[in-house]
């Protein structure tokens, strides 16, 4: 899986990386049926990348919601439209901030540890040992983590959205004195469950797949040195962030 030979220049190297990553995705998908035997491992990974990320996701969701409440209250009060606070906060969270901020946090919290773990397995020849024991490391190590990312990301985004709305409600209604009924009724009359909530979830499913793909790919193909693992971990965060934001634009344009 390591790229063969030295790339001639940065551009060719980048294109080769993208190609290798695409082929890696195909091999993950091909290993999906084999990984069904390792359901327990997938459950453990959902626990690791999902449940263990809950604390950071909930804390950040609460604060993002609270700051949205404050800022949008200020902006809307200029137009005399503070009644629309609930609508604006919930739409911003569902359509954009929920999936994207969760994805960036997920890349930092779960993506890095996936890369470091697989990279260290590579560096200490554990992956080769598995192959020798006739255990396919793709089916046992990589695919469960990929599946766990795809499963955990939308759930985390939902929790993030819920806490964000709670935070905005805290600031807008309890603190700034907005009317509770107006807050909720304007929200419920403008938010559509398919166009806003579910479309946001599709985004986070895609982000979960992309982040775990990049994380496992970087870990799997890392140079087997401590420096290599460090670089691979950094690259996971950088590439995931860029790809998430770019993909977000593309998906928004298509899902609008």
């Amino acid at each position: 899986m390591t790229p063969a030979g030295k790339p001639r220049n940065a551009l060719a190297g980048g294109i080769a990386q993208i190609g290798a990553c695409g082929l890696f995705l195909l091999s993950i998908l091909a290993a999906l049926p084999a990984s069904l035997r390792h359901v327990r491992e997938t459950v453990r990974q959902v626990w690791f990348v999902g449940a263990m990320s809950l604390t950071i996701i909930m804390t950040c969701g609460l604060f993002v919601g609270m700051v949205l409440g404050l800022q949008l209250y200020y902006v809307l009060s200029i137009f005399g439209g503070t009644a629309a606070l609930g609508t604006v906060v919930s739409l911003a969270l569902y359509r954009e901030l929920g999936p994207v901020v969760t994805a960036l946090l997920f890349a930092g919290r779960a993506g890095t540890s996936i890369t470091a773990e697989i990279g260290l397995m590579r560096a200490t020849d554990q992956l080769s040992a598995m192959e020798m024991m006739a255990v396919d490391p793709l089916a046992y190590v990589v695919t469960p983590r990929f599946l766990a990312g795809v499963i955990a990301m939308p759930l985390l985004a939902c929790v993030f959205n819920a806490l964000g709305i709670f935070g905005a409600h805290l600031v807008g209604v309890s603190w700034l004195g907005l009317d509770n009924g107006t807050f909720w009724s304007n929200m419920t009359s403008s938010v559509d469950v398919w166009k806003d909530v579910i479309n946001g979830l599709w985004k986070s499913v895609a982000f979960g797949a992309v982040i775990t793909l990049i994380a496992t790919f970087q870990g799997y193909t890392t140079p087997p040195t401590s420096e290599g693992v460090a670089y691979a971990t950094t690259r996971t965060v950088v590439f995931s962030s860029i790809v998430v934001l770019a993909l977000d634009f593309v998906m928004t344009a298509f899902l609008m």
Binding site: V43, V46, G50, G81, A83, A152, L155, S185, S189, D196
Partner: protein, 167 residues
């Protein structure tokens, strides 16, 4: 063994929490929450212009929600908008000379149907139609009226040189 059980239990809790959050978001913060209502009856109202009125928009009496907009369609014969309002049954005592109007909540708010109760002893029954309606106020109409009332000569002046051909 207990280690394994603890993470399986934790994973289960996490998945349940995620779906609980999704269920709450989908049912309590979206328009789905407005469909969840008890028995209702239908009233019709005709408007010459519904403006930005949307399906599911609230129907209010004295600012309190009593129902929602069910359908909006153009009557092909009369060429006006026929709006079906579904009203909760416990508000079944609207006088039959009540008026329906389309208002906007706040400057940026959504439009809603406001019912101004009349004084008739008879009440509106299922399928009845409002006799008095007031359409959504269009900003363009307001500006047009304002210009027409403000200065009748001003629009005429630039027209005069064009109307009389120069010799």
């Amino acid at each position: 063994m207990s280690q394994k059980h603890s993470y399986q239990f934790g994973t289960g809790l996490f998945i349940l929490l995620g779906f609980a959050a999704l269920a709450w978001l989908a049912t309590q913060t979206t328009s789905v929450a407005n469909y969840r209502q008890g028995d209702s009856y239908t009233l019709n109202a005709r408007f010459t212009n519904v403006g930005q009125l949307k399906l599911g928009a609230p129907v209010k009496v004295a600012g309190v929600r009593i129902g929602s907009v069910r359908t909006i369609e153009v009557d092909p014969a009369k060429l006006d908008a026929k709006v079906q309002l579904s009203i909760a049954t416990r508000y079944a005592e609207l006088p039959d000379d009540s008026a329906a109007a389309i208002f906007t909540s706040g400057l940026l708010g959504d439009q809603y149907v406001a019912i101004q109760p009349g004084g008739s002893p008879d009440v509106l029954k299922d399928g009845d139609e409002f006799v008095l309606t007031q359409s959504s106020v269009q900003l363009e109409d307001l500006i047009g009226k304002f210009l027409a009332a403000g200065g009748p000569e001003k629009p005429a002046e630039p027209a005069t040189p064009a109307a009389t051909p120069t010799p």
